[in-house]
Subunit: 374 residues, 4 copies
């Protein structure tokens, strides 16, 4: 039985762990619980089909990621993991110019051929849109996509970890460093100097990946994009089944269980991993939200979450074995699509590590060009 | 020599008139000079290539429209019509999430094959973008498209009309009604009861087209979208060569000659053709603009223009001969793409009326489904 | 019969002219019609009693100014001058903290002893306030002062000039320069070189006064404060009888005839007399207005007026004879209280010039400390 | 030795307790630690002198309250209570219209005769004001009052309680009910049924006072005004010595130790004591703050506090013995002036209970008109 150490307990690490555990591997997942963990902050919209991103490498992962969700959630149910926040609530993409919605509709319809899970695709008048999401401003029509879903990133991650533990996996909260012998990675050393050996180590450490690789004289090309996300609660409406809302700018609205709505997020390129909430960030979030959903001003403030999305230079996930050292696999760069793609990529990596056949070709996502020898 | 009456002196009517006159036809163009004429208010961005609209019927007209501009502007120069406001200043499409810009870049690159006039396509950092348009907020990267141009709708229309007059065309400011004999349109009657007969009548009357068709017991499917547009003047910068800016929402910024910047526009579906400026409209324009270009708050207020864009049900231009009556041609529904497509469509219609070969197939743009018999 | 030339046809010059004419003097009023004339832009709130200003010199003029209005308006009626925009509509002073309103109520009640025209003084709940001015935000209580009035500055000025002309006064639109002989001012020379001689010249030229005095080697201490004022029109309400609204900041709302509401004004200290409208100014006006009266967002934009209020160093009006030259009287510095005080001060100056007894002592308002010899 | 129970451990209860303990009484202070305690949320500006409130009953308490601070803070130092947040940092009262500042200056100067602690009173240009508080917008002049101070309500309360405990007082965290025998209050019963007897009971329970009085068939007239207050932290400036800022509206800015700035507060009349933070409240606070101090947008979000200010019908504090029951004293209604007046009123009440001579006459603040028998 193969033994694998997964460093990083975000959505990706958790998904690798779960699939490895299911397939009988011995797994240890180690998480440092950094402030600003992307998965902990993320609000998950599972709706890649109307995206402007048409890059095929990206879209294949996003489409397959979305397709995988229902069966994954089902599987977690069989481990009595009922709380993932996953729900098919549909999505409304708003615009004041209906011609733009028509364009989006066509784009989405074309993609339905390979992704029937998209469901129904309709342009709604502003009145119809408001009947589905009563806080909207007048004057915005919407494209409605019935197959869109939302998910709670942290709940899903916890469900995956818990199910993995039921299957025998071990979860450790610690920092860790790689143990290297010649050109092979043999395991990790924890902060209390405990050493754990394994056949394979996987680094799924997002924006903090370089801290593990630097001792190997390697530099991994990953940039951090800070997102501030505001959680509010409605007191006058039951909103938990309302659709996700995508206004025509760079933010979104997402209903959650318990009558919460998530508003956000900022996209702040940063080199400093400081998870502060800023007045400028909150002002940007509130101002942008109220332009399209003025009814949110009656909501109750809940909390602000801050996470750091990991990005590569060409905004594509990368994953696979490191060629400089044996026994080391890296996955990173899921960016703003982490929740959509994370579970699917995690499953593929688990299969790869156990030498099963994968559902996608890894070639386009090679880590080679992201690694530099120092 | 064929005689044609063009009812409607917006960009489309003016372009038909010019091409007809150039080709030796006898043309009379009649314009009512309504308040809210779309061409009079329009700020022209000639940059269809990065649009989310991928509908081929739409895109062919937009691409060909953009391609036609340089030669048209050149031609007008030979009539000593130097003021069209046309200038290739490039465009910046902003986003806080660079992955989205990457997607837009790919989309635009693909289109460059058939449209080399797109020019250079590059992603700029927020600092680079700010060096081209110094009023931008920090934190927004941009896709820069060097081939994008701006044009002044009303100046271009006037240049077309003036050149047509040099070629012998007649411009009349009047309302008009169609003169019908049996199933043939014979000409028009002006408000002073003058009658003008012609071989062909073309209706290019935008949102007011139905007033001409109702006496024929026909209803034309055209809806009006009101746009409010704010013109400001910079006093601290020379901005006339700055690029067009497209923030990630439903508005834009456009530099003009004389250090003006155009900010807008609203998209208000309306049945009432009232060209009022509203506080809500101005607030929306200013709030949206300052989110992405806070430096605009130092600008001096110039004026607000209001226009009504004509739309058909499927947001596509329609044009061609009416089957119910002989001698009547209709063109309409150019929506927000009027300045991009108007000159090109106008040229095609002129060729069509003079039985020359057209550069596009008219079939996809048939007016038949837009006409209802009352 | 004494002959007087009044240079400056704002509210103050017009009031002097009218009173002089009524009392049988021969009057010529000369106005340059500068852009940015304060009276032309001013929205007039006649409600000095709840002001925080307790300076007695200021308050006496303001109180007497307010008290004088009804009889002046009546008098103008007898000249068939019916359009002054004067109407006793009451005023609402808003605050979210009722203790502050209670304080204002007490202050105003004390002043009622000498100014019974204040009328009823009551604190209204936010619901009661909203019933009088339906566009208010919830949560603001108000002090209601029933005796407050509004007036249209330009209409009143025109009524005064017209009535003066009926009485034989002459109105000339021209620039002018003073004619000096030894230490006496003998009259003025117009831009067409016409000379007009008179027994007395009065300079009521607001922020432009120094241009007349500089040739005398005198400098008058007057500063300009620019005010931008937005006029909007309501379409869904009949608001002409609504009260004036004073939110708890540095701006106000004022209903006018014809369903207009005036919103403003900015207070911009400036040395440049440029009457531009700025985006920052409009944004400030709209943002401040909508904080307290969000219902204004449905209003229709009408126009923006810009005026320059003249201020002295201690923010008090100054008026009286110049000691350096015989035959020259100056009045200036009415600041933001010009419409309230202008007619009353004008009347006093006319009496003074005709050697009648004045209702106030001029000593506290001496121009001496405002004049510097160059 | 007299034994006194003080119900309510806000600023007022703590001040009574401290003075009683100092004077040798045996004191028990009981606090329920309700969410929304006014003292816990309050930001303390000690600057009553420029207030528009001229009600003498109010002003005497506010002036004496401000005058008392330095000696109280000194006294607490002798108990090694160094952390009260009290600091004389001065205050800036902003306005765009300098005439209004001139008025405020005169008002404040008059009050200086009886309150020399006001210090220097000067009008500053906008540049001078910005040099003291660099985040201000241009265009706002300011009245600077050098004697103004700030205080941290909760720190001061804790210092008073701690010093009292050093003096032998007992602090209990519990709910309590009054023990009544015939027409005398004998003590209180705690939530664990412990009974404590005393010679006197004082109710200083703010908006929650009625819960104690209802069992006596009495109703106390106190209304709650909710205040939401935003705490931010500056990272680019050392602001702890910056002056308090009072913009010309219903909110303020207050620097604290540790580079914090307090922005607020809302004034929301409410019958529901729900301490939720609302989007509308946050938006109001941020929008109003940024109008006058746009530099705050770079600040880091810290927390939002919510408190309920207790108000009587005429916005005046009331305090004294209840006439319906022996042994019961009530103090309440300090409203937004709680931190300014609380320590002083507390001291007077302690003297009163111990039959010492008080520094003020209690008559104007009688509780009689605030009590209704049910």
């Amino acid at each position: 039985m193969k033994k694998v150490i997964v460093v990083g307990g975000g959505i990706l690490g958790a998904a690798i762990t779960f699939e490895l555990a299911k397939r009988g591997a011995q797994v240890v997942v180690i998480d440092r619980e950094d402030r600003g963990q992307a998965t902990k902050a993320a609000a998950g919209i599972i709706c890649p089909w109307n995206s402007q991103r048409r890059n095929k490498k990206w879209y294949v992962l996003a489409r397959e990621g979305a397709k995988y969700y229902p069966s994954l959630v089902n599987e977690l149910h069989s481990f009595n993991q009922l709380n993932t926040g996953y729900k098919k609530v549909g999505a409304l993409s708003l615009h004041s110019d209906e011609a733009k919605l028509e364009a989006m509709k066509e784009r989405t319809l074309k993609r339905k051929i390979e992704a029937p899970e998209i469901g129904d695709i309709n342009i709604l008048t502003s009145t119809e849109a408001k009947s589905l999401f009563p806080l909207l401003a007048p004057g915005y029509s919407a494209l409605h996509i019935s197959g869109a879903a939302r998910v709670n990133g942290w709940a899903l991650r916890n469900a995956l970890i818990d199910a993995s533990q039921q299957l025998g996996a071990t979860f450790i909260q610690s920092t860790s460093t790689l143990i290297k012998e010649h050109n092979t990675i043999k395991g990790v050393k924890l902060s209390d100097n405990t050493t754990i050996y394994a056949d394979e180590v996987v680094i799924a450490a997002g924006v903090w990946a370089n801290e593990l690789l630097e001792p190997l004289q390697l530099s991994f090309d990953v940039k951090a994009q800070k997102g501030q996300i505001l959680h509010v609660k409605l007191t006058d409406h039951l909103c938990s089944d309302w659709p996700v809302v995508m206004p025509p700018h760079d933010q979104y609205l997402l209903t959650l269980e318990n009558n919460n709505i998530v508003i956000g997020a900022t996209h702040e390129n940063t080199t400093e991993l400081s998870d502060t909430i800023t007045i400028a960030g909150i002002k940007e979030i509130i101002d942008k939200a109220l332009l399209y959903a003025p009814g949110l001003s009656d909501a109750v403030w809940n909390e602000v979450k801050v996470g750091f999305r990991p990005f590569t230079n060409d905004f594509l996930p990368v994953f696979g074995r490191l060629k400089q050292y044996a026994g080391l696999t890296i996955a990173n760069g899921l960016g703003a699509s982490g929740l959509t793609m994370g579970p699917f990529i995690g499953k593929q990596l688990a299969k790869f590590l156990l030498e099963s056949e994968c559902e996608i070709d890894f070639t386009p996502y090679s880590i080679d060009s992201s690694i530099q020898e120092l």
